[in-house]
């Protein structure tokens, strides 16, 4: 059996996935990103290899911002190619994949054979990304697990107009100071984030039936609900959404 490992060194977390010849997932691991990227990648890869019993023999492909620092990787590929492959492997249908990562959001249109037809990424700032949500939730003192309930119970949402994460944080503070309920702010935040993602994804979403969601933010059901409402059709979450890039990288091995 040949073991193939994909490692996705992202801006916020590092993920690794091992698969067998048929593409079946054997093991996964995830850690918050360490600034000593090379050492962390090596340690995670060695631990994963030991778990799956590859005896040190495996084909390794790296993706993500830190891919160039993964010395053990035989190949390095961008997140776009890896996410496309990973999502198509799991969902097996063409459509548009929205991946909301820590500092970038990717929108990829997949052909019927899983290849990349077109893609867009966020521009010069991280306004429409997971980091946006993290920064403001920290300010609100709300945890990730509470989001779904708070989103569902809020009515009506507040409108957050700042595009910049830092300014949106100040806007939220002044809303709280003016007595707006936290739940309404939470809902407003999700709507603002969805607005940004959909305005970026707009031209790729036209005439597409299937919309998929991956990345760390996909584990937040409030985000799935907000995005579905904005897109106008149900958004399907790719199973194990944080590992889609690493899985795609593994499949390239």
């Amino acid at each position: 059996m040949t073991i193939r490992i994909g490692i996705d060194v992202g801006s916020t977390t590092t993920k690794a996935v091992a698969v067998d010849d048929s593409g079946r997932v054997l093991a996964r691991s995830i850690e918050p990103g360490d600034p000593r990227i090379a050492q962390q990648a090596q340690r995670m890869l060695e631990a994963l290899l030991e778990r799956v019993g590859g005896g040190g023999e495996a084909s390794i492909v790296a993706t993500g911002y830190g891919r160039k620092l993964v010395a053990m990787a035989g190949k390095k590929r961008t997140e776009i190619s890896c996410h496309a492959l990973g999502a198509f492997h799991v969902m097996n249908r063409p459509g548009v994949l929205i991946d909301v990562g820590g500092q970038d959001t990717k929108v990829i249109r997949l052909n019927s054979d899983g290849s990349v037809a077109d893609f867009v990424m966020n521009d010069k700032c991280a306004a429409g990304t997971g980091r946006f949500l993290e920064v403001i939730l920290a300010r609100l003192g709300v945890s990730w697990d509470e989001l779904a309930d708070r989103y569902a119970s809020a009515d009506p949402p507040v409108q957050i107009s700042s595009t910049c994460t830092v300014f949106a944080e100040s806007e939220v503070i002044s809303m709280l100071a003016n007595g707006q309920p936290v739940d309404s702010v939470v809902k407003g935040l999700h709507i603002a984030l969805s607005d940004r993602i959909v305005s970026m994804a707009g031209r790729l979403l036209m005439g597409v039936e299937t919309v998929l969601l991956s990345g760390g933010v996909a584990s937040n059901s409030a985000m799935v609900a907000a995005l579905s409402s904005k897109v106008g059709k149900p958004v399907a979450v790719v199973p194990e959404p944080q590992f889609v890039g690493a899985l795609g990288a593994a499949l390239l091995g």
Binding site: Y65, T78, E79, I80, S81, S115, M121, N122, R203
Partner: protein, 441 residues
């Protein structure tokens, strides 16, 4: 008189001597040092690049002593410079100068001077760099001569109106703005007459400032030289239809210098003849700009001056090469319209039809033509924060070009001079993903 001697001396004696010295130094170095391994990704460098340095050194060196010796004009890149040549003007192109600052990564520092002075960061980077350079007295050219007149033409953008008026206020010199109405459809006679009347008036003004009489025969000769120069430039570009392409679009950006700044002068034509012959020779021997050409691309918009090297390498490493650019083609496109028998009206025709002054439909057709002529597999559209008229509409252009020419297209965010607006990591990631999408890696 002394100033004139310095000016002529710099152009005719010091600059050639400097060039000879630099050539000798280069030979000595290559003789002393062990021969460099040929690049893994790139073909041999163009010999003409050394010559280009000499030509531009001479231009900028003599410029240091131009004011007080000959009349001096600062002009926009799309200005009909032919009008000035018979009067012996020394011409400075602030845009070329700003590009030079960009290549040397000095653009941001100079732009910041202009921002502190009061210009918005959203103003064109060339304008900020140029005004910052003047305010601080800091320029890689050593010194720019003070102008007797500022000449702007709106065929490239409306920013030039405000930019040149600002310069006129600071420098306390006259400014003449030639208005070329935007062509949403085909050009008509009224537009040409309107522009031609302005050119006639501008020429009379330039003659008065220079203290000379209008010489229409000399103007005809200049128009003939410009026509030839544009044709020669077109021939140089067309040689990239060969596979492998003998030079890249990024090299074309660097070699644009003379066609922009020295149009109408004999040395401009001599330079492009030399370049064309070298490129022909490369095509004849199958020498490519990159070693393993696999995919050929079109580039739209100005270059990202400070990233030319890193982008070239990223592309070449995986067999991609830029074979044509809309920007460099713009200087060849209108060559047939120059008419030495009617230099003023034909200049109006040529300069009002600059592609950036025309509709998106026109630009799309031009890009489709380039894609077909140069056998392009894809296109990169640089969405240039500084240059609004070039960048607005690129999302539609990218979509329509992809559909109608059946190629892959990429929008790449950047700025031609302001490194602060360019997210290098994101842009390079996007480019790498674009190249991976062609398959075969």
């Amino acid at each position: 008189m002394l100033r004139r001697l310095q000016y002529e001396g710099a152009a005719r004696v010091v600059a050639p001597a400097l060039a000879t010295g630099l050539r000798a130094q280069r030979r000595l170095r290559s003789w002393r040092r062990p021969k460099k391994e040929p690049s893994e990704w790139f073909g041999p460098p163009l010999r003409a690049t050394y010559r280009l340095k000499e030509v531009l050194t001479r231009h900028y060196l003599s410029g240091r002593y131009a004011d007080g010796a000959v009349p001096v004009a600062w002009v926009t890149s799309g200005f009909p410079i032919e009008l000035l040549r018979p009067f012996g003007y020394h011409v400075v192109y602030p845009e070329n100068h700003a590009a030079m600052c960009g290549v040397q990564r000095k653009g941001v520092k100079l732009a910041q001077v202009a921002e502190v002075w009061g210009l918005s960061q959203d103003t064109c980077g060339y304008a900020r760099c140029d005004i910052g350079s003047f305010l601080s007295g800091n320029t890689p050219a050593g010194r720019l001569p003070k102008p007797d007149i500022l000449l702007a033409c709106t065929n490239i953008c409306q920013t030039v109106v405000h930019w040149y008026r600002t310069l006129a206020a600071i420098l306390k010199v006259p400014v003449f703005v030639v208005d070329t109405p935007f062509l949403s459809g085909d050009p008509d006679e009224r537009t040409e007459t309107y522009v031609a009347e302005q050119l006639e008036e501008c020429m009379q003004l330039c003659a008065r400032i220079a203290g000379k009489k209008v010489d229409r025969k000399a103007l005809g000769r200049v128009a003939q030289r410009s026509k030839e120069a544009s044709e020669l430039w077109g021939e140089c570009l067309a040689l990239s239809q060969a596979e492998p392409a003998p030079w890249t679009g990024f090299e074309q950006f660097l070699h644009l210098g003379p066609i922009v700044a020295m149009r109408g002068l004999p040395e401009c034509n001599a330079y492009y003849r030399e370049l064309r012959d070298e490129l022909r020779e490369r095509v004849k021997h199958g020498i490519g700009a990159i070693r393993h050409e696999r995919f050929r691309l079109l580039w739209d918009n100005l270059p990202i001056w400070y990233e030319l090297r890193s982008l070239s390498t990223l592309l070449a490493e995986v067999g991609f090469t830029i074979v044509t650019t809309t920007y460099s083609y713009g200087w060849a496109e209108t060559a047939p319209l120059f008419d030495p028998r009617d230099p003023i009206v034909s200049a109006a025709r040529v300069y009002a039809r600059v592609f950036i002054n025309r509709s998106l439909d026109f630009r799309l057709e031009m890009m489709k033509k380039l894609v077909n002529t140069y056998s392009c597999d894809g296109a990169i559209l640089h969405s240039n924060h500084s240059c609004k008229p070039y960048s607005v509409g690129q999302i539609d252009l990218a979509d329509r070009l992809a559909k109608e020419a059946s190629i892959r297209t990429l929008l790449l965010d950047g700025d031609h001079i302001d490194m602060r607006v360019h997210s290098k990591e994101q842009a390079e990631g996007r480019l790498a993903a674009f190249m991976e999408s062609f398959g075969g890696l």
